[in-house]
Symmetry: C2
Subunit: 319 residues, 2 copies
């Protein structure tokens, strides 16, 4: 099942179910996604009924211009960094010592705003080192403190695709304090559709979104990376997050930048990684970070050739 | 003006105005604090009218058992660490090198739940090094990205007192990753009353809450620290937080643990600091962290002898 949220007068928008081809929709009559996830088992039958009607050809024409982030705001966004290859390259990019830990890496980021897939992204300065980060995420219902990874799997209700905007000139400065990122992590963007795990078929396995993620920067292919090399699964990330807190329904947990050991052929999902690869090869980076007016596109593709989350396609602007 | 939130069937509770002696209240008829702060100028006249009626002796008897946190949940909690003395002692406690920065220290913490002043605090393990942190905070209305510290001052609408629960066995482990804290920072507690800055009289000056904070652990005085030694003011912390994001109305910004250079006579507002002081004096800490069943009390006292925020008084329990 594919879900989207349409813009209306309320901050959480209008939850709709979307047809398999992404062209038609039916409204979940007054529901919001953050409201539905709070009592998912109760909301699911009505949503599945709408999905059935869409399969029969019913529904209105979906106006892409009305689509906002599937969850335009959430109480909690916890972003992991679960791809070991990304971590290794970022240590090179940031001139930082290796992170000596066998635990998942995770920080809490701004969650009161998620940009839509097509919003312009206003940022204060090109000198901050504006970068995109293509990643995947999951949305959970209420998760009790102390949940095991095995139990956590059943709390993952929806999968999403995210662009985690990052300011690379600030990131290592904040890391060195040990307090993590505030300024280096502006609000993220979300691809148009949140989907139930079954939509990914075989590409949802081992608690990982194993689809390809195609990233294009100013029209040029930048990366075609695969989500299967997460060092920790999403259930493990959820359990890590819930070690000393209940997770509120609607908590979004991110994978961190999708990254592969085969970066030489697959490319990357963020500029900073490419710069690190250039530093390894040439001793210095040659690719600049983003300029105002730059465009980034991201789209996940499953083994069956579907694009379940739709596409992120947006431009960075001066705030 | 003093505000509180009373428990009702909704997660954000019922906003009430409280009399100067904390004994009586009048309901803000359907308002919540997170709702009111979103349009504070519109909400203020009605709240001030209720405050006027309370001054005339009107209002019902306030049932302390119904008081929850002034804002039981918020979209964003950004906690600073603005007391230099605290930072120095924590580096000793955590065996970490000095943080080499002239910037404010800040992390984003869990905000979907703030415990009330009297809630039991369920935590998973004594081995995590359970500690309290007495601190102050401010609640802002909507703050635009890029705000200056001068402009930020006008966005500070309410002052609060917070107990930032911390797990000290995990904190340095998470700091070393550079990602900041997730597991080391369970939800915080809030003292019963949020107050407008004028309630503090001369103790709200230079953008700082200059009141004393009295901390008692299992009935024994632990610290009587003063809030005036913040290295950065609250407006500076707000501006720091808004460098690359708009701050949503209702964002809470914390001071970090109140700490004074005169710790030998004033004591501390967290156990970890006392342990660091013991390490300086004796080469090793002698005070243990909290045990299940331990009680902590915290109360701010102004120069005029008032206790504007009321008291935190709670017990740690096994989750």
């Amino acid at each position: 099942m594919r879900l989207a949220t349409l813009h209306n007068a309320r901050p959480d928008g209008e939850l709709v179910v979307v047809s398999a081809d992404g062209q038609r929709y039916l409204s979940a009559s007054g529901l919001t996604l953050i409201g539905a996830i709070a009592d998912w088992d109760a909301a699911l039958p009505a949503l599945e009924k709408l999905a059935g009607l869409l399969e029969q050809g019913k529904g209105g024409v979906l106006d892409a211009a009305r689509i906002v982030a599937p969850m335009p705001r959430s109480w909690q966004w916890l972003d992991g960094s679960a791809f070991a290859q990304h971590g290794e390259l970022m240590q090179i990019a940031f001139h930082l010592p290796p992170v000596d830990t066998d635990r998942p890496l995770m920080y809490q980021g701004v969650s009161d705003k998620f940009y839509s897939a097509t919003d312009d992204i206003p940022l204060p300065s090109e000198a901050d080192g504006i970068d995109f980060e293509g990643e995947f995420g999951v949305i959970v219902d209420a998760v009790p403190m102390g949940v095991s990874a095995e139990e956590a799997a059943s709390h993952i209700k929806l999968l999403v695709q995210i662009n985690d905007w990052s300011l690379r000139a600030i990131a290592p400065v904040e890391m060195k304090t040990g307090f993590g990122w505030v300024q280096a992590k502006p609000p993220c963007s979300m691809a148009p559709f949140a989907v139930t795990p079954d939509e990914l078929g075989e590409d949802w396995r081992d608690g990982r979104i194993c689809a390809d993620l195609a990233v294009t920067w100013n029209g040029a292919p930048f990366g075609l990376v695969k989500g299967d090399q997460m060092g920790f699964s999403f259930p493990e990330l959820v359990a890590h997050a819930a070690r000393s807190r209940d997770l509120v329904a609607g908590t979004i947990i991110g994978s961190g930048t999708v990254s592969n050991a085969e970066y030489a052929t697959r490319g990357s999902a963020c500029i900073s990684e490419r710069r690190a690869i250039e530093m390894i090869a040439d001793g210095k980076p040659s690719t600049s970070f983003m300029h105002f007016g730059d465009r980034v596109q991201m789209e996940a593709r499953t083994a069956q050739g579907t694009t379940p989350f739709g596409a992120i396609d947006q431009i960075v602007t001066r705030a």
